[in-house]
Subunit: 126 residues, 2 copies
DNA sequence: TTCGTTGCAAATGTTTTGCACCTGA
DNA sequence: TCAGGTGCAAAACATTTGCAACGAA
């Protein structure tokens, strides 16, 4: 992996994500950072998001609805997506890591991890 | 929901997916169907895939790598994605539906379902 | 000075859509 | 007949990339 150099833009993306819990998209982050960096480009945002994800500092959440979302909380947790308003919410729930073992049982490859996404309707949309 | 009319293209997509277990992309399906329907268009393939998904006849698998994939097997099962060759494989594993209850416990919305995707390296790539 | 980083714009890859024509019921 | 389906092409989106200029070490 290559050497990293300090960049104000990257730091800003990192700290922005650290204080949000609503899993913004790259575009939301871009619009937000433009307040501090009027000339920042979407390309820079994407490049840094990919970088931060590779470093394990943030998580990318892909769902079948719309653009990817980013999460500054890398502590193991699962997500819920509302099928109506498409909000993505952190779930507080007991650890379900054992499903990795269940999946491994009759599988000949190597299971390194899993992503569990729950869906339904959030309390706002019920 | 609107009335459906028979279409050879749709039937062909349906039966094609029914006999594959490798979760092809829309483009793969398109290329394959062109053998029978030289003039079929990608738009038609996408329109029918969306339709079949809405009808619950097929499943769409979204992952963070590349295009969506489609699965003709709607019996409850989970998938494994190889991080190296990006193959998507059906997992034969014990039922883990109980994770829905685990997730519901401290959640105020309504959890209707979940998607569990496992990843790692398949036996070919080990 | 060096090499990673940025802004900009163009390109890419995937999916959706408008429209005129076609087809099944 | 007529609403739904199709092919085609253009558009819409999300994301990536080439390049010349910039900036941190």
């Amino acid at each position: 992996m290559k050497n990293l150099k300090y960049s104000r833009q990257r730091e800003s993306i990192k700290s922005f994500l650290a204080k949000r819990t609503d899993h913004p998209t790259a575009d939301t982050i871009y619009e937000e950072l433009r307040k501090d960096f009027p000339n920042i480009s979407l390309g820079t945002v994407y490049r840094n998001l990919t970088l931060l994800e590779d470093l394990g500092i943030i998580i990318k959440i892909t769902s079948s609805y719309g653009a990817d979302r980013y999460d500054g909380n890398t502590l193991l947790h699962n997500h819920f997506t509302c099928t109506e308003c498409h909000r993505v919410i952190d779930l507080e729930m007991d650890n379900i890591d054992h499903i990795k073992n269940v999946a491994s049982q009759q599988f000949s490859g190597l299971i390194e991890g899993y992503v569990a996404n729950f869906y339904g309707r959030c309390d706002n949309c019920l």
